[in-house]
Amino acid sequence: GDQVEQSPSALSLHEGTSSALRCNFTTTTRSVQWFRQNSRGSLINLFYLASGTKENGRLKSAFDSKELYSTLHIRDAQLEDSGTYFCAAENNNNRIFFGDGTQLVVKP
């Protein structure tokens, strides 16, 4: 989207490897969320951050509100991590803008 630049658009990982996704924001962002969408369209909320970092299992996210970016690190990728990952940024007017997604494929 215009407000959120997400990269990469696609990513292929072998099981057991690690990588990071990134979102850059073009405007003041008060919070960021990360989601994973499966092939049927269901979205799972992975993280909500107003600042700093959060970790959940093999996933870790960071948000720098001054430098206007957020990252999602995937460690020791597993087959079930495959899906499309989206970041979403909330501005000061409570509007939430989504990135265009990263299609992740984890291969054996």
Binding site: G41, L43, I44, N45, A88, E90, I96, D100, G101
Partner: protein
């Protein structure tokens, strides 16, 4: 993980027909968002509510859609006269409000023939 219920899962309409979809937010969540996700995965914000009141909506929603979140009934989003370009996945999300953490339903996939 989400308790947001959207119905129907699939909806097929002809051009010019009305298309109505419903959403039951997670219990205790006063804020409801509707998004349209197109085939390129792009999300478009449509409208959001706090309880029964509209907070924000885009121009398209105001002109061609009707949406409501009545008390003690599901929220709904209705396209008054469907167009081919309305074919998309319509996603409803609810939020507890203090933080706008979004919990999405499974979506309604609309096909306009």
């Amino acid at each position: 993980n989400s308790k947001v219920i959207q119905t129907p899962r699939y909806l097929v309409k002809g051009q010019g027909q009305k298309a109505k979809m419903r959403c039951i937010p997670e219990k205790g969540h006063p804020v409801v968002f509707w998004y349209q996700q197109n085939k390129n995965n792009e999300f478009k914000f449509l409208i959001n509510f706090q309880n029964q009141e509209v907070l924000q909506q885009i121009d398209m929603t105001e002109k061609r859609f009707s949406a409501e979140c009545p008390s003690n009934s599901p929220c709904s989003l209705e396209i008054q006269s469907s167009e081919a370009g309305d074919s998309a996945l319509y996603l409803c999300a609810s939020s507890p409000g203090q933080e706008n953490t979004l919990y999405f339903g499974a979506g309604t996939r609309l096909s306009v023939l």
